[in-house]
């Protein structure tokens, strides 16, 4: 693998050395601002933008080669968004109507997002298609979101508009769909903006690739601002001389809340690289940080891994990462060795490992739940493996030679929020005991839009949000030990087991409740998705056809390979209520395939 990577990298450096002919006359927005910094103490998003527009900072968009392509200072964003809002008034929509936007990393997306808020509408970001051969399934996913949100308007730029058009066909709620250019052609209606109220919905955040049961998290202005305050004051301790850099997609909570909205509500500048461009040439992100002296940049561990894999000695010489003071790490289980490898690799480029800032959060709590202390680096503890499995208890390692697990300290809840650990019956557990992670506070969603069933599953009495993650508290700090079996993380993508089972059940040969999906981990941490199907087919050709079809579908929908195992009917273990148990299905698979070392405490706690 490594030799391939090195070879692949060779033409890359040449390409970068031969720029910057096309940089034209654009200048990125500066880091120092001309107005006094306010740290998210606003009632609403539009209030925050009105203030940010008094300064000179803003958003900057770079292309794959590292050239600055467009600059959107907050004052232009305000102006453009207000004009677009006046055009949106042509549709005469009731306040709170939903507006769907396919969110690539572009100034147009941000302008539309804020235009919706000025016009009293609720925007939500839809993903861009990233998988080979995913056309059909992507359109179904879009349609699922449009229907679940009952969106009135849907927008996409020209590159993605034909997908949107296909998705809109057959939906009943969408009364207009178009590109931003088409919206620009509508007249401006001179209607006075009504102020938004903190109790109103600010936006929806979709969290699942399901076509049948998409879940749109409802976030109010109040929840958003509460979370942003926690992030920028407590988590990042944002200062006037900070500058952010980001490749995170605008349709994910960390990308949108953490790297679009948080910089704006603190009036600092951001440099953006499209996710696709980062994925292909991850070092561009580091070059951007180095060149523009950025101080805040977040990534999932997988993004850091890509950087470590691709960097060569000659790349390191041209990088200076010493300005990077907050390297936020979140969005998936943090494996400390990924951070160590990154720090080791980039130490010579000035990266300070104290910059690592592990945090924990989820879209259902707007974004952030806990932050470790900024500037302290990644702290972890060694836990005795056997005690963890036998007693579901985190005992600090007593003696050498015993098998151990290392877990990263994700820090403490942001102010006004509480985290507790509970057992299967909802009883609160004491420190060091492993159980479900629940969170309570003003950042927690009001529910999933139009989906009382899923809302009921996630929000427990007292408005405690069940995060679906497993962990323990130690001296007030949160440690995540795993996710339940219903979420599988592969290469940084969070995939819901239910969504894959749903796909399988769309096949005529697969009956409902006869598919079970889970992830198995290699010793080196690689996760493989396994799909076990109860199957009545006897012909070898038919069985192979089903396997191939399922693998192809899963790839198209989620961009991952999977193992498909066909088993005889009644093989999959069921609970007393007839529900499939993914946990038991996994144990069965492991026994059949002799992967005994896989048996682990992490995946207990089936829903």
């Amino acid at each position: 693998m490594s030799s391939t990577i090195t070879k692949l990298n060779a033409p890359l450096t040449q390409a970068f050395n031969s720029q910057p002919s096309s940089e034209l006359h654009l200048t990125p927005t500066p880091t120092p601002n001309t107005v006094a910094q306010r740290l998210a103490n606003f009632a609403t998003l539009t209030d925050a933008l009105e203030y940010a527009a008094n300064g000179v900072t803003g958003y900057n968009f770079y292309d794959a080669r590292g050239n600055l392509r467009s600059v959107l200072p907050y004052h232009s964003l305000r102006q453009n968004a207000r004009i677009l809002a006046q055009r949106l008034y042509n549709f005469n929509l009731p306040r709170g109507s939903r507006v769907a936007i396919i969110a690539d990393t572009s100034p147009e997306f941000v302008e539309l997002f804020f235009a919706c808020r000025y016009a009293g509408l609720v925007p939500f970001a839809m993903p861009i298609p990233v998988n080979l051969g995913s056309h059909e399934i992507y359109v179904q996913q879009l349609r699922g979101m449009l229907e679940s949100s009952q969106a009135s308007i849907a927008l996409a730029n020209l590159d993605y508009f034909h997908f949107l058009q296909e998705a809109v066909e057959g939906t009943t709620s969408v009364q207009w769909s178009g590109t931003p250019e088409k919206l620009q052609q509508l007249p401006r209606l001179d209607i006075e903006f009504q102020a938004n109220h903190p109790n109103e919905t600010a936006y929806l955040q979709f969290t699942s690739g399901s076509t049948r049961t998409p879940r749109g998290v409802v976030i109010t202005e109040r929840a958003l601002m509460c979370n942003l305050q926690g992030i920028v004051r407590y988590g990042l301790e944002v200062k006037p001389d900070d500058r952010s850099a980001s490749w995170l997609p605008f349709y994910h909570d960390m990308g949108l809340v953490g790297l679009v909205l948080a910089p704006m509500v603190t009036q600092i500048s951001v440099d953006y690289l499209a996710t696709r461009d980062f994925a292909i040439r991850p070092l561009q992100w580091l070059r951007m940080i180095s060149r523009n002296r950025c101080s805040i940049a977040f990534s999932q561990p997988f993004g850091l891994k890509l950087c470590t894999m691709r960097a060569r000695e000659s790349d390191l010489k041209e990088l200076d990462l010493s300005s990077w003071r907050a390297a936020g790490i979140g969005a998936e289980m943090i494996r400390p060795e990924i951070l160590r490898n990154f720090a080791e690799k980039f130490a010579s480029a000035g990266f300070n490992e104290k910059a690592f800032l592990p945090c924990y959060g989820l879209a259902e709590s707007t974004l952030a739940v806990t932050f470790s202390k900024v500037g302290q680096g990644c702290k972890s503890i060694q836990i005795d493996h056997k005690t963890l499995i036998d007693k579901r208890m985190a005992a600090r390692l007593q003696a050498d030679g015993r098998k151990q697990n290392e877990f990263v300290n994700c820090g403490r809840p942001i102010p006004g929020h509480t985290v507790k650990i509970v057992d299967e019956d909802g009883r609160q557990l004491s420190e060091m005991m492993v159980g479900s992670v629940l969170v309570q506070g003003n950042s927690v969603m009001t529910g999933y839009f139009n989906n009382p069933e899923e809302t009921h599953k996630a929000l427990k009495s007292g408005n405690w949000l069940d995060t679906g993650d497993i962990g323990f508290l130690f001296e007030g700090d949160l440690f995540i030990t795993g996710r339940r079996t219903d979420v599988i993380i592969v290469n940084g993508r969070n995939i819901r087991a239910q969504d894959i089972e749903e796909l399988a059940e769309l096949q005529p040969e697969v009956r409902s409740r006869e598919a079970s999906v889970f992830g198995v981990n290699d010793e080196d941490g690689t996760t493989t998705i396994v799909l076990v199907i109860e199957c009545r087919l006897t012909s070898v050709a038919e069985r192979q056809s089903l396997i191939t079809r399922l693998q192809q579908l899963v790839y198209m929908a989620f961009g991952v390979n999977c193992v498909v195992e066909l088993v005889a009917p009644h093989t999959l273990p069921r609970t007393s209520s007839g529900k499939l148990s993914r946990f038991a299905a996994k144990q069965g698979y492991i026994q059949r395939t002799n992967l005994e070392h896989q048996l682990s405490f992490m995946e207990s706690g089936d829903r």
Binding site: T4, N131, L306, N491, N561
Partner: protein, 84 residues
């Protein structure tokens, strides 16, 4: 762009895919990237990067949604190359 350019693209893709995937199968134009070569996301990124650098083009992400076989990938590269 000529037919020989197309053949060249196809030949190069087959060649690169065979190295990238260590496939036992001979890489033919009709081979399915997903089901037969199990191209995962990292391999795909490597392949795109190499295609872009070799042919000096930019592959739009939305172009890949209709690509499943090696031939379809060659068609896409050819199309982008001839319009750029």
């Amino acid at each position: 762009m000529t037919d020989s350019d197309y053949d060249e693209i196809l030949r190069l893709l087959c060649d690169r895919l065979s190295t990238l995937t260590n496939s036992e199968l001979p890489i033919t134009p009709d081979i399915n990237l997903i089901t037969q070569l199990s191209i995962d996301s990292i391999k795909l990124l490597n392949l795109i990067m190499e295609i872009e650098d070799t042919f000096d083009i930019s592959i739009p992400i939305n172009g890949l949604t209709d690509v499943q076989t090696v031939r379809q990938l060659a068609d896409l590269v050819y199309k982008i190359k001839s319009t750029s």
